[in-house]
Symmetry: C2
Subunit: 496 residues, 2 copies
């Protein structure tokens, strides 16, 4: 079993999807990567709670095109204004700025614990791969050669053998595994790598597709098919839990159809996410994200904005702010305080909403007098999201905020589940499928037809089988295409 | 100020050395990297406590050439036998295996906290740099062009502009800083990056020099020279503390001479380590490590080896082992238990000594009866390092082990300090310096002579000024070369 997790998708409005590829190699099973594209935060978050661009006292710097006007412009504006990333000097590359990178680190922290619990060790493989390695694997060279960056000069000299900058590490991992695995004693071998990989994408977009991106790839080898299968299922479970519990993305875990299974793999598992535009997240590769989203790690952040007008108010306000900040920190709540005098409170309100910070605390002279604060939930726009007079008393404030953070996470997940479920329609005939797909929705129906039929559906509707979901309805089923008995339902959708 | 930390040096018997390069750029000061080559563990550790190759019941797999017979063979044998790293398929590259990588992760964890405390944010910059960027900086192109890996083909096509795989990120960081820093508002800007970098070294050796290596590089920009200077000193302090407290390497922090200062820098700070062969660790670049060493993170590891002969003994032994393991884990002590039946206890003793695990717990049926364990210190060879009958009672055992771990760290550091200090000799004439250097030691003496004199010393003795140490003797001094008054003493040594 194996797993891949990619940063670019991180800040894109996105979701998670791994694909475990089981492959038999000699006496051990080396399984190639499953991919997890964890997901979305600030930018994506806005699809549920649109960024309010009121300008209460703020200047218009960092102005963001309304999402409804121009989705693409909105997308890049948000990334820029929230300081998530910037363009690198080489076309198609990007610089991941502190706010974007912090989310990646939080994902690493979470998954490192899970990987270690499940027996994986982190390692690091060289990024330069002999060109011949790529050529050795027919399906691999076909898949990756148009996307390769190739080093031909090293130390001022033309190289005898060109080197590929890793697009993924399967070939080099296989090479080393073959060396390390001498007998069953050495199994299972379960490794994980956090690394940068390079794919020469033609059309690029920050976080969605970039020439270089950060990801996580797991590779394991097992003595038996059963054990590999168990591991594959376990990792899908880790990803699924991650998607739901951390990223608030209600993915659908399942198995890929034969047609959609990665070349050379026995089986491919996936978790499929529905994007905001209802397209499915494409499996087996690691880009293309839609507008569904998560708030993943923002649910731990709270920002405090102090407010004062007269100079003599500053002292008391800041004293109270420091005390509140300490209280929250001690309670393990991630908190940022912004007391910059270069920006107005109004500007700050907009800025942190754009960044996706879930709770804002406003604290002014009157609040200090009342020993209370004002709490603003990002996911509930306007006055409804404001709570006045929340006591500064540490135990009360901490409990209140923790409760609100839980609520926000639950509410985001619930909204995403509702969105997903209201866009999956059960179908019992090909006609129904066509209609559902033409509406941009996902179709779910019993399927036991041929690969040729599957390709026909793709040609005629552009929809593919995203997966046979693990969660299957009970009872006898008839294939909606052929009328024959069917063991399972499949989900069809258009994808990125 | 800035900082670089490199993994390759990690497992090499080594030490730490950063060099802060202050450089004035427009209205802000952008300072280029200081480098920290943290250091050494298993392999290096052996120079103080030579790996015992007794084969108590063990087979001779993973046999290690004695260090005294052939240092180079010993070095590569240890890396291989302790499973720290392996060779990659491309010449000069290496795979960092779990045990080696875990140490890197521990260093990351430690330094990330320090960097964040001092106001740095982690970021990620693209690794592909336009060739023109490297050419822009004259000193840079001179320094790095012989070492560059160059991508000339991307997506199947010859590129219009060749791309350099980063040998360091100064040029791209400068490019982005110029964009981000619009006014004093944006200062200080303090970023840090954990990344892989590539240098086309001709002679390579695992961890010492590899084509690709992992490191950490910090870059900061400040409004004033004073602030940059303060930051530079602060980071040197972080590195120095790291070297002493974590890596048990008694480095000498100081300032580089004009001759040894990096081209383009106002000042270069460094921490210089004395290697086991008494060579100094070369500053300003990030390879070349010697035989001095540290046990860095092993001081948190304890290994438990269960011992039984008859089948019916296994149950009770393993029960006790599990309980001891839990006790230690709960006390926050890093513990590994090796109950593999494929290796004898004797084989395991050797294996973990080679890995540098500082304390081994042996637990057999008689110990279970006595409710006690046997403790073996790696740094004290033979029977003197063994303690019998240490109670299993959690509070007693935990206190005992924590005490021993502290002692081991203190003892390692003390040994290294003694080694260092006994090899630094005060000199008062050029003749004395020549003698000291010819003995392979370090010479310390008052210096106020010219750059030309410094170069003459280098030509005639191969020794260079490693630094003007921060720790200076009191009182009036006369330059040992010219007899003129001198403000400072300098340290001269041969380096890698």
């Amino acid at each position: 079993m194996a797993s891949l997790l990619r940063l670019p998708s991180l800040l894109a409005p996105a979701a998670a999807r791994p694909a475990a590829l089981l492959r038999h190699r000699g006496r051990c099973l080396h399984t190639s990567p499953a991919r997890l594209c964890p997901a979305a935060t600030a930018a994506g978050a806005s699809s549920a709670a649109p960024v309010k661009m009121e300008t209460r006292g703020g200047d218009r710097e960092g102005q963001v095109t309304p999402r409804s006007t121009d989705f693409n412009a909105w997308y890049t504006d948000v990334i820029d204004a929230a300081e998530l990333a910037d363009y690198g000097p080489v076309r198609g590359t990007m610089v991941i700025r502190p706010y974007g990178y912090a989310i990646w680190e939080a994902i690493q922290d979470y998954l490192n614990v899970k990987f270690k619990e499940t027996g994986h060790s982190n390692m690091y493989f060289p990024q330069f791969i002999p060109y011949s390695f790529i050529e050795k694997e027919a399906s691999h060279v076909q898949g990756f050669s148009p996307e390769l960056a190739v080093v031909t000069i090293g130390g001022g000299k033309e190289l005898e053998e060109k080197l590929v900058v890793r697009p993924t590490s399967e070939t080099i991992v296989n090479h080393m595994f073959t060396k390390w695995i001498q007998s069953y004693r050495d199994l299972p071998l379960m490794i994980n790598q956090w690394a940068n990989v390079t794919r020469w994408e033609m059309r690029t977009k920050p976080f969605i597709r970039t020439l270089e991106f950060l990801w996580q790839e797991g590779h394991t080898a097992h003595a038996t098919l059963e054990e590999a299968e168990k591991e594959a299922m376990q990792m899908i479970d880790v990803y699924t839990k991650f998607a739901y519990e951390q990223a608030a993305i209600p993915v659908i875990p399942g198995r890929k159809s034969r047609v959609e299974t990665f070349a050379g793999a026995d089986r491919t598992y996936t978790i499929e996410a529905m994007m905001g535009d209802k397209k499915a997240l494409q499996a087996g590769t690691s880009h293309n994200l839609g507008q569904n989203f998560s708030r993943a790690f923002e649910t731990q952040q709270v920002v405090i904005v102090p407010i004062w007008k007269k100079g003599d108010e500053k002292g008391v306000v800041m004293e109270a702010v420091a005390s509140v900040q300490n209280t929250l920190k001690e309670a393990g709540i991630r908190v940022k305080m912004d007391d910059s005098e270069l920006r107005t409170p109004g500007w700050k309100f907009n800025f942190y909403e754009m960044k996706g910070v879930p709770i804002r605390i406003e604290l002014g002279p009157r609040d200090v007098k009342n020993r209370s604060v004002v709490l603003c939930r990002r996911d509930v726009p306007g006055k409804q999201g404001k709570e006045f007079g929340i006591s500064m008393e540490p135990s009360i404030l901490v409990d209140h905020i923790k409760g609100r953070l839980e609520e926000i996470q639950a509410s985001l997940l619930q909204k995403a589940i509702t969105f997903r479920d209201s866009n999956i329609v059960d179908v019992n005939s090909y006609g129904e499928l066509k209609e559902v797909i033409s509406e941009g929705k996902w179709a779910r129906g019993p399927w036991s037809a041929s690969d040729a039929d599957e390709l026909k559906v793709k040609e005629e509707t552009s929809a593919t089988i995203r997966c046979f979901p693990f969660d299957q309805p009970e009872g006898a089923k008839k294939c909606f295409m052929t009328g024959n008995p069917a063991d399972e339902v499949a989900i069809f959708a258009k994808s990125y």
